[in-house]
């Protein structure tokens, strides 16, 4: 097979074009033989099965986290991964939207995230009589410093520490799987190429060679 023939197909799909899967369409026709009218056909994106596309569509339509909760997540994730000389911040990379989706996809995250956000607001209220979104950046750090370091945090903050660790993990995963984050790491793959082995300068750096 010619290289350009198979690469052509990939090109199509990575544009994210939604193709109506013909097998799914045929199945629907088959299912329709009993004469019961069908709801409007769902667009199945390339690479997904019908069941998966249906579940995704349902999740997308579901609302769980509210605006205040999402605003708080945006602020917190930018404290965890701020913009620097090399790349943008968590929220610029779309972390808020990712967390909004993933708690619906993994319902076991719903209570830890929602409850953690409430914990944060109540702590903020206790200290500054305002919600976390309403206090100053310095005041936010005052709270974050008490929950960001699991090994030295005071016992009384253990629930806050757990929540912050979860947010750190979700933020990092969301960020480094985004375009901005992947470019930040400098990951060079996911593209047709020829693997010729470890570059010579790297071999030299580690005192290794292909000869022995």
């Amino acid at each position: 097979m010619k290289r350009r023939d198979y690469l052509k197909n990939i090109g199509l799909s990575s544009l994210g074009l939604a193709v109506l899967n013909p097998d799914a369409r045929a199945m629907e026709q088959l299912e329709n033989t009993n004469g019961v009218p069908k709801a409007a056909a769902l667009k199945i994106p390339g690479g997904r099965t019908k069941d998966e596309a249906e579940r995704d569509a349902k999740l997308m339509a579901e609302v769980f986290l509210n605006k205040h909760e999402l605003d708080t997540i945006t602020i917190l994730s930018d404290i965890i991964i701020p913009a620097d000389k090399k790349s943008g911040s968590a929220s610029q990379s779309g972390v808020t939207g990712f967390i909004e989706f993933i708690v619906k996809d993994k319902p076991e995250l719903k209570t830890p995230v929602r409850g953690g956000l409430r914990w944060l607001d109540s702590e903020s209220n206790r200290r500054f009589s305002k919600l976390f979104t309403q206090i100053t950046p310095a005041q936010r750090i005052n709270i974050v410093d008490d929950i960001a370091y699991p090994e030295k945090a005071k016992k009384q903050f253990s629930q806050g520490v757990n929540f912050f660790t979860l947010m750190r993990n979700l933020t990092a995963t969301g960020f480094y799987t985004s375009r901005i984050g992947i470019d930040d790491l400098g990951y060079k793959g996911n593209t047709p190429n020829e693997w010729k082995g470890v570059p010579a300068d790297v071999l030299k750096q580690y005192g290794l060679s292909y000869d022995d």
Binding site: I10, N21, L30, E52, M60, Y149, K188, T191, P192
Partner: protein
């Protein structure tokens, strides 16, 4: 494309061969038989799949093209993995007995589990067929390496596998394409292993590092074979076997066809075909054939045999021995991972390589000197891969360690902000993973059977497993853990997490988890202790053959699939030969 009429039309015909299952075993049988001119009907419970068709392609997609960044909420190995099915399938349960464990991975698609398998393609060696003669445990196969060698040689050339001839006695040479060069961490492992006396060789994967024909392209090194290759440069039954079988014009492929039972003639006791239910329409159909081959995977084939009951076969077809379902065995597995600080802040370049390890370690030990009877091989992972869901998770377990910062000053674990961001960059690509995959001793009291109380959504009685590891496997897992720790230390790495100890059986994975289940209808010369003869032909029903891993007498310290393929080829050629001689 589903075409309702093929289900109706195929009922009118009598096929030369009806095959159930289109994975490694079924695909190979369909390919061999249709090329020889036989009219074949292939029943597949799952949906169509072609890795070069845009509607199925996930290759070269980025993590952000999945709203869940590729995690496995809906697909067991993640959104981009080419596995439709998984550990649990809605409406198709299985059960376990006596508090034992067995997890069962099933794929429901043309090509079965070969669409997303690891492509590690290891032929068995002479010892792997004769373990009882060596250690007195289990049983010997009725065939040996010399019987299998011509078929291994044929599939090496026909399907393509890279590797090197090392002249190892129990890891025999083959016909190999050039292997890819080791990655950086693999060179480091090799160096450490050399110091420890552990061998490291180029891996053997069925990936075309060179094009071998006009139908299949060459590998372009995207590291994503588990997503299925749109260039057909990796082996999967769907693209390499079923597709060309279709092109002969001799194959009727019926997707969405869930076999219920093998039908028999009450007078002759011969198989006459297979009845099935269409998984979409729930219509009942049957196809007739002069020969029936089951290749639905070891567990499903046992289920089909046991569910095919009649007055002539009250305990299930081909089961006069009562052996069907017994001796099921999966590879052992244990793993450990580590951070290699030497790799911190490494230069970033594209090191994707092929979709799997470039080096591996075949079993090197002498079991006579060890406290467990069977060996294992080691698979290695690591490198600067594409980030996906889970990336960065648990950094608070790393960045508080001594010497893990660039300035050498210890800092508080966890944290946030600019310095945290530096940590993620610094640690990227410094992780390595070790997985042992070993041979268990098959046991009669490890078995699968039909659950008397449970049916699936099609009304088909389901499989119930009873499986326990013995001391042999547990001690082998301990040896794996000790070995991993030695290698990690020799590399100057830091092992992650606590070393798995006796309380967890040394990290020995639950049965089924390594997805190499074999042996549910083992072969033998004695019809009272085995289900099929050395040609995978049922002792009780001469026109019934098994073409998956159910006839395996033992597992080997290799992964099973290359042997499934070679054995299915051998069985298919036997059928062709017997048909020519009018014996069937």
């Amino acid at each position: 494309m589903i075409n309702n009429s093929i289900y109706i039309q195929s009922q009118q015909e009598v096929f030369d061969v009806v095959i159930v299952g289109s994975g490694a075993g079924g695909g190979m049988a369909a390919h061999t038989l249709t090329k020889a001119g036989a009219k074949v009907c292939l029943l597949e419970a799952g949906q169509p799949f072609d890795p070069a068709d845009p509607k199925y392609i996930t290759q070269l997609k980025w993590p952000y093209e999945s709203p869940r960044r590729g995690t496995g909420t809906t697909r067991a190995f993640g959104d981009f993995d080419a596995a439709y099915g998984g550990w649990e399938i809605d409406g198709e349960p299985y059960t376990r007995k006596n508090g034992t464990k067995f997890d069962w991975f099933r794929a429901r698609m043309v090509g079965g589990r070969t669409n997303h398998w690891g492509r590690i393609s290891l032929r068995f060696g002479p010892d792997d067929f004769k373990r009882k003669s060596i250690d007195g445990l289990g049983d010997d196969w009725p065939i040996g390496y010399d019987d299998m060698k011509p078929f291994y040689d044929k599939i090496d050339k026909m399907l393509g596998v890279f590797g090197t001839n090392e002249g190892l006695r129990n890891d025999p040479d083959g016909f190999f394409l050039p292997p890819p060069k080791p990655r950086l961490h693999e060179l480091m492992i090799k160096k450490a292993n050399k110091a420890l006396g552990i061998p490291t060789y180029p891996s053997r994967l069925s990936i075309l590092t060179k094009s071998i024909n006009n139908e299949r392209g060459a590998c372009f090194y995207c590291a994503q074979c588990s997503r299925g290759c749109s260039a057909y440069a990796d082996f999967s039954s769907s693209s390499v076997l079923v597709k060309p079988a279709m092109a002969t014009g001799n194959l009727t492929l019926l997707p969405f066809a869930m076999a219920r039972e093998v039908m028999t003639d009450a007078a002759t006791g011969l198989a006459t075909g297979v009845s099935y239910v269409h998984t979409g329409t729930l219509q009942e159909y049957s196809v007739r054939g002069k020969i029936v081959m089951l290749a639905a995977s070891a567990g499903e084939t046992a289920r089909l045999l046991l569910n095919s009951k009649s007055s002539r076969f009250p305990d299930g077809i081909a089961n006069s021995s009562g052996v069907v379902g017994k001796y099921i065995n999966d590879s052992t597995g244990a793993s450990r991972s580590a951070i290699i600080p030497k790799l911190f802040d490494r230069k970033v370049y594209n090191e994707d390589g092929v979709g799997g390890l470039h080096v591996y370690t075949p079993w090197w030990g002498d079991n006579k000197k060890l406290d467990f009877p069977r060996g294992y091989h080691i698979e290695y992972g690591g490198g600067m891969g594409m980030p996906s869901y889970g990336f960065g998770w648990g950094i608070e377990g790393l960045n508080g360690k001594e010497n893990y910062t660039r300035d050498g000053l210890r800092k508080a674990a966890g944290g946030y902000g600019a310095t945290l961001k530096e940590d993620y960059r610094r640690y990227y690509g410094s992780y390595v993973g070790f997985s042992g995959r070993g041979e268990p001793v098959p046991r009669e009291d490890n078995y699968c059977e039909i659950d008397p109380n449970v049916v699936d959504k099609y009304g088909i009685p389901v499989v119930r497993f009873n499986y326990k590891w013995s001391d042999y496997e547990i001690k082998q897992a301990k040896h794996m853990q000790d070995t991993f720790e030695q290698i990690i230390q020799e590399m100057g790495g830091d092992a992650l997490g606590k070393k798995p100890g006796a309380d967890t059986n040394y990290g020995l994975a639950d049965p089924g988890r390594i997805i190499h289940e074999v042996g549910t209808a083992r072969m033998g010369n004695n019809s009272s202790t085995s289900v099929v003869n050395s040609n995978c032909q049922a002792h009780d029903v001469k026109n019934l053959f098994l073409a998956d891993s159910s006839p395996f007498v033992s597992q080997g310290d290799k992964n099973a699939t290359w042997t499934i393929l070679a054995l299915s080829l051998r069985t298919s050629e036997y059928i062709i030969d017997q048909r020519k001689k009018a014996n069937l």
